[in-house]
Symmetry: C3
Amino acid sequence: MKPAPATLGELIAALGGDLFGAPETRIERIAPLDVADAASISFLANPKYQAQLASTAAACVIVAPAAADAARARGAAIVTPDPYRYFARLTQWWAGRVRPAAATGVHPSAVVAEDAVLGDGVLIGPQAVIESGARIGDGVQIGAGSFVGRNAQIGAGTRLAPRVVVSFDCQIGERCIVHSGAVIGADGFGFAPSPEGYVKIEQLGAVRIGNDVEIGANTCIDRGALGDTVLEDGVKLDNLIQIAHNVHIGRHTAIAGCTAIAGSTRIGAYCTIAGAANIVGHLTIADKVHVSACTLITRSISEPGLYTGVYPFEDNASWEKNAATLRRLHQLRDRVRTLEAAPHSNKTPAP
Amino acid sequence: MKPAPATLGELIAALGGDLFGAPETRIERIAPLDVADAASISFLANPKYQAQLASTAAACVIVAPAAADAARARGAAIVTPDPYRYFARLTQWWAGRVRPAAATGVHPSAVVAEDAVLGDGVLIGPQAVIESGARIGDGVQIGAGSFVGRNAQIGAGTRLAPRVVVSFDCQIGERCIVHSGAVIGADGFGFAPSPEGYVKIEQLGAVRIGNDVEIGANTCIDRGALGDTVLEDGVKLDNLIQIAHNVHIGRHTAIAGCTAIAGSTRIGAYCTIAGAANIVGHLTIADKVHVSACTLITRSISEPGLYTGVYPFEDNASWEKNAATLRRLHQLRDRVRTLEAAPHSNKTPAP
Amino acid sequence: MKPAPATLGELIAALGGDLFGAPETRIERIAPLDVADAASISFLANPKYQAQLASTAAACVIVAPAAADAARARGAAIVTPDPYRYFARLTQWWAGRVRPAAATGVHPSAVVAEDAVLGDGVLIGPQAVIESGARIGDGVQIGAGSFVGRNAQIGAGTRLAPRVVVSFDCQIGERCIVHSGAVIGADGFGFAPSPEGYVKIEQLGAVRIGNDVEIGANTCIDRGALGDTVLEDGVKLDNLIQIAHNVHIGRHTAIAGCTAIAGSTRIGAYCTIAGAANIVGHLTIADKVHVSACTLITRSISEPGLYTGVYPFEDNASWEKNAATLRRLHQLRDRVRTLEAAPHSNKTPAP
C-alpha cells in the first residue's frame, strides 16, 4: 500500500464521527495499534486490546464512546459507536484514494457476442469472453480472461476479477464481487448407477446469486439439477468453497474457506460457518446457526447456536494413546457398566 | 431451464418404458414430486418417498413396477425397472432439446500450433491454446480459454469446459467431461530435503485418464513423478478434489468434492468416497470400499465395506466437556482398570 | 516420459558420485526398484526397502555408502551420501534432456502494457496479460493465459504455468514455480457486521513471496488487510491450499494439499504440515513443528514436535458404537468418579 496522505479533517468530512484532535493532522497509513507509527491512524474494536491504547504510537485512534477518555488522554481520537465498522468504511475510502479508478470500455482482445447486451460504463478486460444473449449491467467490470456464458446475467456494479467463469443461464445480482478462479455454474455431481457404469444426470438448473454477494477465489458453485442453486443477498463466501447443486443459502450468511455444502441443503440467514467445515446433503439449517471450523454437520439443525465436532489436537504420543483407547470406547463403557452392576456397589448406574 | 414442451408420446418414443396415460399429455418441465405441477413429469426412485405419490401434482410419474398401481391410481405413469436411471436418461434427452447444439470450428482468437492434429467436427473456443504435437479427437469441444499442452491427447467426443488446463504429455480418453478450472498434469509435490532447503524432484510422468470420466471444477490431478497418475474408465470426480502424483483410481469409482488422495495410493474399482474425505499416501484400497465424509483413511483396506472416522458434532458446550474428557481418555481407561483390579471386585477385567 | 538414453558416464560427469560399473552402460529411464528394468536407473533412499536390492532388475542403483556392498553385489551402483537428493538432482538433469528448452519472446496474442518492464530472455505465452507497471525479471516464463496485475513484480527465473493470477502490487521472488490456477493476491475475507449486512474491509496490503518458492495448482494466497501476507524463501505449497490474509510462513516450510491457514497466523521455519490440516487464525507456530493430516490446530504451539488430532477410522458399525459413546463421554467420566468414590473402594481417585 502506497502512502496517500490525508488529514483527519478530510477523513471526518468523508466518514463522519467526532474528532478530538487537530483536523490538520496528517495520516499516511492505516495500521493495527501495535504496529502503528506517528503517521498512522488505528482503531480499537475489541475492548480486550484497550491496554494497547497506552502504548500505541498512532497519530489517531478510532474508538467507541466507552474508550474515548483513555484514547483522548494519549492523543487524537475519533469517537464513533462502532469503531470496527468505521474502520471498514475507512478502508473503502482509502482504497478509493490509492487505487486508480477502473477504466471503461471493451478491450480489443475481448470476444463479445453481437447479441450480448452491455450496460453503460462497463469494462470488459483483455481476453474476456461474453457469449450470446449475456446481459451485463451498468458499471460492471469483467476482469481479464473471464468468461460469461450464453444468456448469463451480471447485475449493475458487479465486479468479476480476472479468470472468473460464469456459465450459461446463471445470474449474478448487483454490487457483487467474484474473485479469480471462481467457477459459477459447473455441473452438479449427479449420476444414476447402472451395470455399465454411471449415467450422467444433466444438470438442467442454473445458479441465482442475489445482490451484494462476495465469492472467493477458486470457489465453486454448481448449477442445480432441476431447480436452481441459490445464494440470497449479502452472502459472503471465502476461497476454495464448494457449493453443490440445489443448495440454498440465506441472506447475510458468511462461510469461511475450504468449506463444502453438499447437494440440496438449505442454510438459513445470518449463519456463520467457519473454515473447512462440511455440511452433508438434504439438510435444513436454521437461521443464526454457527458452525465451528472442521466440523461435519450430519443432521438438520433447528435451533440457533454454536455447533462443534472436532477431535482436539495433542502431541502425537498423547494422541496415539487416547485414539487407541477411543477405538475401544464402547467396550470401556461396558466395563464401567459391569463395575456399576457389581453387588458390592451401592451406586445407581448413571442413565 | 426454459420450458421445452414435449408430449409423453415423444418421450416414450425416445426413451422407451411402459406408458399408462395419454400420449398427447404435454410436459413442460422435469421436477421433484413435491415441487411438480400439472405440466411436470416427476419420478419415484426411492421407495421411502412413495407417500408423496398421493399428493404430487405431476402430470406423470416415472415409477418401478412395485409402485405402478399406486402411480396409476393418481394419473399418468411410466413404468420402468430403474426409475432413477430412466430419469437420468430423460435429463439427457431434455438437455438435447433445450440447449443449442455445439458449434464446430476453430475460433479466430484461439492459438493452435501448426503441428497440432485436430479431428473432424472439433470446436476450439475463443482464446483456447493448443500446443505443438497435441492431438484432438473427433467431435472434441475445447472451451474458451482452455489450454492443451505439448503432445497432450484428447479423445473423441470429450468436452473441456472453459478455462481447463491439460498439461503436456497428458492423455484424456473418449467422451470425458472436464469442468472449468480443472488442472490436469501440474507437477506432483516432490522434494528431497537438503541443508540448503528442498531440492525439487522433477515430475517426469504424466496423467492418463480413461474413457467416460468426468472431472469437476477446480479439481487437480497431478502428473506422476516417474510413472503416470492413472484414472480408469468411468471414474467420476466432483469439484475441488486433489489427486496427487502416481495415484491410481479403478474404474467406475466416484469421489465427492474436496477430497484429497495422497501420492501413490491405489484405489480399487466401484468405490465411493464421500466429500472432504482424505486418503494418505502409499495405501491400497480394495474394490467396493465406501468411505464416509470427512474420514481420514490411514491404512490400506482389503475388505469391501463402509468405513468412517468422524467426530460427532454437538452443541458447543457439550462438545467442550466431551472433548476435554477425550484428552484424558487413556487415563480414564487406567482408572477403570484400577477399579476392576480392586480386591472387592469379583469381575474379570475386560481384555 | 520418452526415453532419452544416457550413459552412466554422462550421468556421473554431470552429477558426480562414485560409480561402480561400466560408464558406457546405457540408461533409458528412471524407475523405482520394483518396476525398474535392465534399461533403468533406480535408487535406494529408505533402508527399509533394502531387500528390494536383491530382486530389482535395474541396470544401476543409487545407494548410500552403507548399502554399497549389497548394491555392488548385484550390478552397477552409484554411491553417494544422500541417494534421495541425488535422485532429485538426477530428475532435474533428465528433465533438461527430455523436455524442449523454453522459448523466449512475447506471443503476439499476449497483452502487455506499454510501461510494463520485461527483463532479458523472458517468455510471455499466448493470451497472457501483463498490466501497467508490472516488472518481469530476466528469464521469467509467463504461461499461456496468465495474468500479472498492475505494479506486480516477478523475480528472475520464476515460472508461472498457464492460467496463473498474480494480482496488483504482489511480489514473487526469484526461481519460483507457480502452478496453473493459483491465485495470488485475491482479497482477504474481511467484513464488519452491521445491521444492514456486512461492510467490506478493503484489503489494502498485498502478497510478498520470497525466492525458491513453489505454489501448487489452484492454491490461493490472499492479500493482506493492512500489512502483507508473506511467504519466506524456500516455502513449498501443494495444490488447493488456502493461505488467508496476513499469514506469515517461515522459510523452508512445506505444506501439503488442501490445507488452510486462517488469517494473521504466523508459522515458523522448517515446519511440515500434512494434507487437509487446518490452522485457525491469530496463532503463532514455532519452527520445526509438524502437523499430521486432517488435524485442526486451535492454539499456538511453542515447542517443535509432531501434533495430531484425528478421529481414527473404523468399519462403520464400530464407529457408530464408539461415536455414540463419545457423545456421553463426560457422563462416563462422572460414572467412573462415582465408582472411585464409593466407600468400599480403597483406591485413590486419579487426578
